[in-house]
Amino acid sequence: MTKLPQLQLDLDAIEQRFSDCRAWEERYRQLLLLAKGLGKADPTLRQEAHLIDGCESDVWLSFEQQQLQLDSNAKIIRGLLVMLLACLDSYPLSQAQSEFAALLKRLGLAQHLSESRNNGLQGIWQAMYAIAQGDEQTFCR
């Protein structure tokens, strides 16, 4: 059993938050609020060795002592990381990425899945697959 110490929300709660949003501003307000839920990462996380390749903003990932930690210097990405962690918490790793993509589409945030943004989200999944090496339970609570 491993822990996702930063996560404070489940998928239903996330969907609930977005369900009343009409304008894009409201969706991004919610996303920025979610970002605060990511909580403070271990200060040693933000170092070169933990950096995921991404063009526009930095994303750091570590998996030590069975603890997955994620962080970014961009707030919107931090909000998306909360959603990613929630997906990881509810689904086996092999399904989590497609569930994450489906969630973003449902919530009107599909533009963040575009390859042209090269925002490191794809890189995070690749890094997690590399760590898990096929073990579906690696990142489960």
């Binding site: 526009e56 903003s57 919107i76 533009q111």
Partner: protein, 402 residues
């Protein structure tokens, strides 16, 4: 011609769907109707390969293609036979780098600058690695200008080549390329000028610049993608060994060896991008049809209005203040990651670039998290700057509260 008249020449701005406030012309410009027509009309009228078959349709295509070479050459004050078609600026730089490999040794120096696009930097890193030559950089000063005094002091007869952008794609700095060329030529070094960001905005005369090579792309001067050009002085083009083989670059082939065709064909392997070239020719014609001073005045007014608006906004930090600048501005918003800003600006219909702009060394010097970049084309208006400023306010309001 009035501002709205410029804009009306570009059909994308009158589409029914809401078109963004387009502030990303340094990445690629929109196409005017005349450039679209030139390509479509050629395709509709029937097409043939050039410089090969002798039938009437092929001769017509070849004639048209050759006139186009003349048009594009004239845009930078050159003659048709001095112009090589390439797939773009990057391809042109690579053609020069491969072509000069045989002339460089481990004792030589290649100079470029800290403000280059990766195409005009990584290519020389590779050439230096292949030949053992040293790669040296003209430093960039705090304000975004180049430290030419440093270059002048360090320059020696070891220098064989200087590769420099005419205009920086990140800061809009207009570099003193004519002066750099004069300095370099005292030591018989060749000079390549990357004109990708200049050809749509400045009056370029390669004779006045006196550079050996000048390279540029169609898609940053209102033409299509996938086409560009390499200009060279006759001796400078002669010095280039071909790096791609086949097609009309060959004059004679036997099983024991082959001979190369004359310039410009020697450096144009394979069937050229005929449709792209016709589009680029139409783009050169489009620019020639508008009086330069009129275009220049419009772009200068736009730039100074944008600089004035951005520099007086309390949350905006300009990242460079070059002495001479054209059509590009790099900035960021205080305490806001550029990617967050770009996402929310995109939601408000503002199309701009965020990140390192394919110039990581310069970008890292200006800001540790990259920057936002706006860049203008003829179709932009002061109202676009107003829309940007309003969107920035909204962005600050959404992101600023914690």
């Amino acid at each position: 011609m009035s501002q709205t008249a410029f804009r009306s020449l570009f059909p994308c701005f009158s589409t029914k769907d809401r078109f963004p406030v387009y502030l990303d012309s340094a990445a690629s410009t929109q196409l005017p109707q005349s450039v679209i027509d030139a390509q479509v009309n050629y395709c509709r009228a029937g097409h043939a390969n050039v410089n090969r078959s002798g039938h009437t349709l092929a001769r017509q295509a070849t004639d048209k293609f050759n006139q186009t070479r003349q048009l594009v050459a004239a845009h930078i004050g050159a003659q048709a036979e001095q112009l090589i078609w390439t797939s773009g600026t990057t391809d042109a730089i690579n053609t020069v780098a491969s072509g000069l490999t045989h002339l460089l040794t481990a004792d030589d120096e290649i100079w470029t600058t800290e403000l280059e696009h990766h195409a005009n930097l990584v290519t020389w890193q590779q050439l230096a690695a292949t030949t053992g030559a040293s790669l040296r950089y003209i430093p960039v000063l705090e304000n975004g200008d180049l430290d030419i005094a440093h270059f002048e002091a360090q320059l020696s007869k070891r220098c064989k080549l200087v590769a420099i952008a005419h205009v920086s794609n990140t800061t809009g700095t207009i570099n003193p390329v004519a002066r750099v060329a004069r300095l370099a030529q005292q030591f018989d070094a060749k000079v390549l000028v990357d004109g990708a960001q200049a050809v749509a905005h400045l009056k370029v005369d390669v004779n006045q610049l006196d550079c050996d090579y000048y390279v540029f792309s169609g898609h940053k001067m209102y033409g299509p993608t996938g086409i560009g050009a390499l200009y060279g002085k006759p001796a400078a083009l002669d010095a280039l060994q071909p790096s791609k083989f086949g097609g009309e670059m060959i004059s004679k082939v036997s099983l024991s060896g082959s001979e190369w065709n004359q310039l410009p064909y020697r450096l144009e392997a394979g069937t050229p991008n005929i449709i792209g070239a016709l589009g680029m020719g139409a783009a050169a014609q489009f620019l020639a049809d508008i009086e330069f001073n009129e275009r220049h005045r419009h772009e200068r007014q736009l730039l100074s209005y944008a600089l004035q608006q951005l520099s007086t906004h309390p949350e905006v930090e300009l990242l460079a203040k070059p002495m001479l600048q054209t059509s590009v501005i790099a900035f960021r918003l205080r305490d806001i990651h550029p990617q967050d800003a770009a996402t929310l600006l995109d939601q408000q219909g503002i199309a701009l670039r965020c990140g390192h702009h394919c110039a990581m060394p310069l970008s890292a010097k200006l800001s540790d998290v990259g920057s936002l970049r706006i860049s203008f084309g003829l179709y932009n208006e002061p109202a676009d700057v107003d829309a940007l400023m309003q969107a920035i306010d909204h962005c600050v309001e959404l992101l600023g509260d914690d």
